[in-house]
Symmetry: C2
Subunit: 217 residues, 2 copies
Amino acid sequence: MTAEDTRERILDTAERLFAQHGIEATSLRAITAEAGVNLAAVHYYFGSKEALVRAVFGRRLGPVNQERMKLLDECEARAGSNPPSLKGIVEALIAPPLRLRGNPAQGGENFCMLMGQLFSESSKWRQVIFAEFGETMSRFPAALKRALPHLPEKELFWKLHFLIGAMAHTLRASGLLVHLSRGQCDPDDVEGTLRRLTAFLVAGLQAPVPPDPGEQS
Amino acid sequence: MTAEDTRERILDTAERLFAQHGIEATSLRAITAEAGVNLAAVHYYFGSKEALVRAVFGRRLGPVNQERMKLLDECEARAGSNPPSLKGIVEALIAPPLRLRGNPAQGGENFCMLMGQLFSESSKWRQVIFAEFGETMSRFPAALKRALPHLPEKELFWKLHFLIGAMAHTLRASGLLVHLSRGQCDPDDVEGTLRRLTAFLVAGLQAPVPPDPGEQS
DNA sequence: GTCTATAGGGGGATAGAC
DNA sequence: GTCTATCCCCCTATAGAC
């Protein structure tokens, strides 16, 4: 087993166990035992658990976010000087992490679930992970604003918040859906999931915001 | 300090710390230190950490789920023999946990956040908590089925899944929304949150499911 | 590069004095 | 009912042999 192998085995096993049990609940001992490497190897290659977490996310997050930017660019180019399509924006945000599920070579469903758990981790780990994101995420509120020019910015953030919740839950809790539907729904049908979730979210984004009954308008 | 006080202080403090840091990450030592009681008191009153978790949820979940059933009953009674309104069903599911936020006497925003974290806890704790739910949750798929009679059951479960994700994220991650919107959105406006989330979700539920382009129809 | 051994801290749980 | 003291476990991290 080469040194590269050891490093990769640690990353792959950590990714899987983090996804299955959460970061806090996964010990370095559990990772090294499953990977078949020595406990001290983690510290030799990464230095600390926090650095390992950064490495696990750093390895996959770049490609996912680059793909998001590429899809968003294409969507905006298609629109020209018109507002970009909501469907295109939503797909640019959702499709790249969701498609990891059908792609074992790039982390498969493990990193997909891990991304969905992002908002569930304790604030300490969330901060560590958000730092790996860069400024990618600021482009989506801007694009949504162009697609929904008449919607007040405040309402746009509410809608984006609901969207993020549905996306994260879909990435994270596929097992729950199978259980809930008694096997009728198949989360491994990635394009079917994307089609349904996009339609649901675009409708939500387009829905008029009901006025506050307590306010004069 | 009476015995009742000690018990309640442990429950209140555990509820708050579980909500802030997650169940796994909260130690009995942290709870007893903040509550100003002795570590051994937890074992005297509850017996174990798992029993304490059950007690924390058992105390509030009953009233929340009873309120859900009451709202659902009213919604179905209003409809008579017609299909119940989607808005009524969605509100029956979402309003009771969300309104805890404005009700400090019944656990305030702590238990509200705790309910939103339900799907984020490790499977061990999720099982412990789900056992406290009883059969309450099976009535909602049935009501949705009556409200959307032409939608295949499989599609209904997908939509319910997306709905649950948006609801849980809204209950859990209010801090993130404030940060994201730079203070423009106010999660303490409970009725405003309910109004926006309901409108978003009803639109998503009503959205036609796009056909699979690979299938003959 | 890989191992053993251990430091040093925290966790849940319990016994037994008061 | 409430406390102290303690058992025994697992954790991250590191030192040092090989």
